[in-house]
Amino acid sequence: MRSFIAILVLLASAVLSSPAQSNPYFVTYGHGMEEPGNLEITTQTTIGVQKHDLPNYWAPLLEMEYGLTGWWTTSLYLEGASAPHDATVFTGYRLENRWKPFSGEHKINPVLYFEFENIRGASRIQKEIVGYDGAQDEAIRDQHGEHEKEIEGKLIFSSNAKGWNIAENFIFEKNLTEFDEPTEFGYAFGVSRPLSSLASGKKCTLCRENFTAGVELYGGLGDWDRFGLKDTSHYLAPALSWQLSDSQVLRISPGFGLTASSQRMLLRVGYTYEIHGFGQKVSQLFGGKH
């Protein structure tokens, strides 16, 4: 019952609360950067539906993404986790930076990604799947005391062609708290396209041009000592984004577990609000020229 109420609260908040070039991905990154001076605020929830009577959970996430320049986007994430008959906790923060080294549009556009994570063992958002990430069989309250500092890198390749976006991410993650643990690897692949290639002349919310559909495939690739697919989790996730207005986007993606190690489903729901010219407004607040 509590889970049901939690889901209702989440959906209600989504209705109350990415813009122009949004793709529907939750895990995969494309080469679109935040526009300089814009702040994008995203609330997102991952609902984990587990196998073998393991408890389901939900993990909310707040992301603030800012376009420092046309080639540098930075983000701060705050995350939490909750499960029925267990606990509801804040599970830490992440600082992310993305750099687009080459100006202009190319057949394949590389982006470099670096993230610092200061999170608890109870983290459940599964922003990406690496190593042997799989079932969450420990209680949140038992894992809350475990601190983890990690660094994560991604090599992002992305292309836009004939209305389609195709993106591939290669992921590595290193635990700094337990440095002896080997570096873990993962991947994410996404393909998407808007439902209409032309925009209608009238203002509308339900027009096809406001929807982008796609599919993601993501999972772990083991670690430095045992690289490969054995015992790893993989998910196939159809995804849909809906541009509600010039500055609001709603996204949903049910990710279905493909292997024995995977969870049954990771249902992700996200809502994004973009504040145009945020940097300029802050600058004016502190007496800067506009």
Partner: protein
Amino acid sequence: MNGKTLAFVVAGAVAFASAQTSAPRQNPAIDPNWVVPAKAAAQSNPLAGKPEAAMGGKKIFSRTCAQCHGDEKNPRKNNAPDLSSPDAQMESDGALFWRMSNGNSRRGMPSFSALPEGQRWQLVLYIRSMAGATKAETK
């Protein structure tokens, strides 16, 4: 990383952001390194015979372009050219299409390649209709 360090990082990012967004340029010149290839500039607009498509272009323009280039509601930023000006209107359809598709991230112009090609041509069509249009006061 403790709380003080985090606060320092965030404050630094805001200060850097302010510096990035407070450099006004009254008459932005086109970056001489941002050269449109001749083949791209020679492309013609496949929607040229469909003026009704410009209405869709106006909608996309207000969503993706107006916050920098300005329209009747939004003032134009100083570092973004006025697209109704003769300088911008002298560009060929293909050149406008290429510039919005590629962007110029070093000068703050994003790439809009994620928009379907049809919508980018609609934008070109709408930009053509802006020649001589009155804009809100430049910011």
